[in-house]
């Protein structure tokens, strides 16, 4: 099969993303590398990134699984909710 990046794969999904409002509140100032590392490894959509010592998060492409909430609620993940109705990812296969 041809190799695809995570961006390519997410591009196949249907999203009605609320680009302005993130349904996940993240402490972007954190310097807790161990905690960051877990999220970078676990997030199936690669919403959490750590490149050259720079931590970043984007809710665009979030698959709403809840993994980051379970791993880091109260730490890096300050608040987690589902997107508003009619927003977020929509599966046509599932």
């Amino acid at each position: 099969m041809k190799k695809m990046t995570i961006e390519d794969k997410l591009g196949l999904d249907l999203f009605h993303t609320d680009e302005e409002n993130s349904h996940i509140k993240v402490d972007k100032e954190t310097t807790d590398e161990a905690e960051i590392h877990k999220l970078v490894l676990a997030c199936p959509a690669e919403c959490y990134k750590y490149d050259d010592g720079q931590f970043s998060f984007s809710h665009l492409g979030c698959l709403e699984c809840g993994t980051c909430r379970v791993l880091s609620k109260g730490k890096i993940v300050e608040d987690w909710n589902y997107p508003m109705g009619t927003r977020g990812v929509f599966y046509r296969q599932g």
């Binding site: 999904d13 490894l41 929509f90 296969q93």
Partner: protein, 431 residues
């Protein structure tokens, strides 16, 4: 939304919620299902395989009309190393031979949409595109739900809002999930043609394969890989237990890439085209994570109640979801005849639950969550299997030690006697 009061509000239009809706509506109760997706099924993901027995009770012969993918007639389990795979396959006309024993591969967007139609036909109202923010309580009793500025009231609220169940947590029925209790599943749906699937997997168009594997898919971490054949697609995924994230430096998306490229998987997918990528949490602690199932005016069903069993060779959740929805509905029907929706009246759900196959099976597999946190299963065992099988099936003309020595040597290399005895005793306990 309507100002009227309903008999029941169901939060979440997945299998548990829709099953409850069908049973309630058929009994003539006024029921509304509130779903945050644009349609039922559009937020839902399965591996997946549905064991049909519990839906048979609600819609006999459902597989004749439901959009199932294939009936599972071939089982395969594998212990995988980076380059090898020891496989056990089973195909028999005993598999899926009756409606009650049949299992089917399904895709939830299509399947749940169909079940939602059945709920509407039965008389349930379905309102999609709305996220429920909280339950409304009066003196500790749940009396309705709030979504944005809208409020809606009912005698009882059934929480079928999935594995994260923020609503059950807010009500204190359920604790926050622990990383050891859940696995993250990442899945690709890969398009092949129906004929290609038939040829490569050795099945007819109605028949399908369920293939579970452990070891390399999660790079030795707790979890596993799965492959299910759909009509003209294949569902390929990995599940990784959250408490074991970081065991290897391979991320979950990379695990899935690695699995797809494994030498024993890749040939099946050759020429395939990914059409969707999805992810979902899977409750994996069985009986140990079942929450408080009822309260004043409220019931919890399906994934929201953590109802799932992972035995490694089979994974069940959807049949539990459907049955729990049905039992919750039976409880509400009974409560309605007495006009009493107190916690005491709704504790009937717990009684039904405890006497159902859900509790029986959760109980009989209560040792599995512990067993499936034995590192040996995900690292040593696949390596040993690879070692022994490679020696067994290789002929070089050099002196041969014989199978017993292969096994003894491999055991000595990969594990200690104490660890082995511990593991065997946990295996025996689990079964």
């Amino acid at each position: 939304m309507s100002e009227d009061k309903f008999n029941a509000i169901i939060v979440g239009g997945g299998l548990a919620g829709l099953s409850a809706a069908i049973v309630l509506a058929k009994a003539g109760l006024e029921v509304i299902v509130i779903e945050r997706g644009d349609a039922c099924g559009m937020k839902n993901v399965t591996g997946g395989r549905l064991y049909g027995h519990s839906l048979e009770k609600i819609i006999p012969g459902f597989a004749q009309e439901a959009p199932i993918e294939r009936k599972v007639t071939k089982e395969k389990i594998s212990l995988m190393t980076e380059t090898g795979s020891l496989d056990i396959g089973f195909s028999s006309d005993k598999l899926s031979s009756t409606a009650e024993s049949a299992s089917y591969t399904v895709l939830r967007a299509k399947f749940d949409e169909w079940l939602a139609e059945k709920a509407e036909e039965a008389g349930a109202e379905i309102v999609p595109g709305i996220r429920v923010d909280e339950c409304i309580t009066e003196d500790g009793k749940v009396v309705g739900i709030k979504a944005g500025e809208d409020e809606l009231f009912a005698d009882v609220v059934i929480l079928a809002d999935g594995v994260n169940s923020l609503l059950a947590q807010k009500l204190g029925l359920k604790k926050e999930l622990e990383p050891a209790q859940v696995a993250v599943g990442a899945k690709e749906v890969i398009k092949l043609s129906e004929e290609t699937i038939n040829e490569r997997f050795g099945v007819t168009s109605d028949e399908g394969v369920a293939w579970m594997s452990a070891g390399d898919p999660t790079v030795g971490g707790f979890g596993g890989g799965f492959l299910y054949t759909n009509k003209d697609t294949v569902s390929l995924g990995v599940c990784a237990t959250l408490s074991d994230i970081g065991y290897s430096e391979v991320s979950v998306p990379k695990m899935l890439d690695r699995f797809a490229n494994h030498p024993s998987i890749a040939p099946y997918l050759e020429g395939g085209e990914i059409v969707e990528y999805s992810a979902h949490l899977v409750p994996e602690e069985g009986i140990h994570m079942v929450p408080q199932l009822y309260g004043d005016g409220v019931l919890v069903v399906g994934d929201a109640a953590g109802l799932c069993i992972n035995l490694g060779f089979t994974v069940r959740g959807m049949d539990f979801a459907i049955e729990s929805g049905r039992l919750a509905a039976e409880t509400v029907i009974r409560a309605n005849t007495y006009g009493n929706f107190s916690a005491a009246a709704l504790s009937y759900y717990k009684q039904l639950f405890d006497n159902s196959f859900i509790m029986r099976d959760l109980d009989s597999s209560k040792g599995f969550p512990t067993l499936l946190t034995r590192r040996e299963i995900f690292t040593n065992l696949p390596d040993m299997a690879d070692d022994i099988a490679a020696k067994l099936f290789t002929v070089t003309g050099e002196p041969d030690q014989g199978i017993v020595m292969y096994i003894i040597n491999s055991l000595a290399e990969h594990t200690s006697a104490t660890d082995l005895v511990n593991m065997i005793s946990e295996v025996l306990e689990a079964f």
